[in-house]
Symmetry: none
Subunit: 236 residues, 2 copies
Amino acid sequence: MKPETSPQHCQSHGGWSSSEPLLPHQEIREHMFEKPLTPSDVGKLNRLVIPKQHAEKYFPLQGGSTETKDQSLSCEDEAGRPWRFRYSYWSSSQSYVLTKGWSRFVKEKMLFPGDVVVFERARVDGGGYRLYIGWRRRRGASENLKSPPPNLPAIAALDGARPNMSSGDSYSSLTGSAKQDCHCLLQAGDEAVAPARSKRLRTLRLFGVNLDLRTDSGNRPSEQFNVSGYREYIDN
Amino acid sequence: MKPETSPQHCQSHGGWSSSEPLLPHQEIREHMFEKPLTPSDVGKLNRLVIPKQHAEKYFPLQGGSTETKDQSLSCEDEAGRPWRFRYSYWSSSQSYVLTKGWSRFVKEKMLFPGDVVVFERARVDGGGYRLYIGWRRRRGASENLKSPPPNLPAIAALDGARPNMSSGDSYSSLTGSAKQDCHCLLQAGDEAVAPARSKRLRTLRLFGVNLDLRTDSGNRPSEQFNVSGYREYIDN
DNA sequence: AGGGGAACCTGTTTC
DNA sequence: AGAAACAGGTTCCCC
């Protein structure tokens, strides 16, 4: 058995299992396409780019080329829960995107870059299709963690900043949310090299690591850098 | 003669000469305004801020204050080539800006901070104007060089990278393009901390300085960092 | 008024 | 080498 190539039975992960026995009257799902999620797809842009060849094959926009009217895409997830997304064509970037509704899906499923979103469909009476949206963890993702930590760049590069790393304790399975934070304590003089972006938040990208210097309200003895490889999830 | 204040005859620079003889039937160009370009104007923001007094005098937005509909500004350069820019008012910054199309102009004309962009117009039949856009090098710019080096940020911040600066030898007047490069030799181990972005180019933003590590085809004894404060031009 | 979302834009990469 | 696609931004509107 090659668990990295065969579909996983992902009860807690939301994927579909193709190894389930086909019951009588069970609809036949046709796999349409998958997309490995980019950092942008799960980031703050709140949109999923649908690769053009798949978009035009499976989700043709009504009205042809002239009327680029937005439409909605209604899918079901693995639990049968409906998800409605706004589906548009952005002429500026010549790309098809899911916008409204997508960020909720990302948040609820706690998707990370490299995770794969899967689209399927099944014929229904009347000639149409019922759409399904699913997902699975990226290759190498741990089964036990909601999401494994990203491969952060070597923190040794930060030796000028005297890092006091504490990682691994920020992954919580209790709150239903995930954090990917590490914390570094910096000497007061160190942060002078970071260019000011605003009074409350300065970002320094250093060796591929985003350093977000937050000066919280109230005086703290030390300021705090947020070190993240690509994304952070904060509890609401 | 004050060559730094009188318009230059810029055959190779693209500026207009006001000392050309006025031919019969030649249109009369009215100088509207100039703007010395800021680093942001030629940087990655891809926009030119039009000083408000000039924007409201010469380029009033149609529709008054309510309809802030973007419009386009079509100009000709010194060669008669058309340039179309998107022209908008950004309420967030209370400023008038040229956006789309501007970065192409900057790149093609190889504009640098301090260079001056010039707007002129000429009446045409029907009561309208034909617009012209030109530019000239900044004060003190060498005639022989396409562009002088910018004031790079203090390189002392790079002391961890053992810089071996050599500047001034990378400005070529032969190729018709401009470089703003300095070169740092890095120890082999130093570049390991830079995250891979592609096989050929890795970018490291360090203390506000973009470090572009290029691994040129063929093995070189040392790799080369491109250190630029805001923008780089590479020969094609 | 502030934050999330919709639309717009561009450089890089790829084919 | 030219064009297409898209990843990753930005701006700004709307609630």
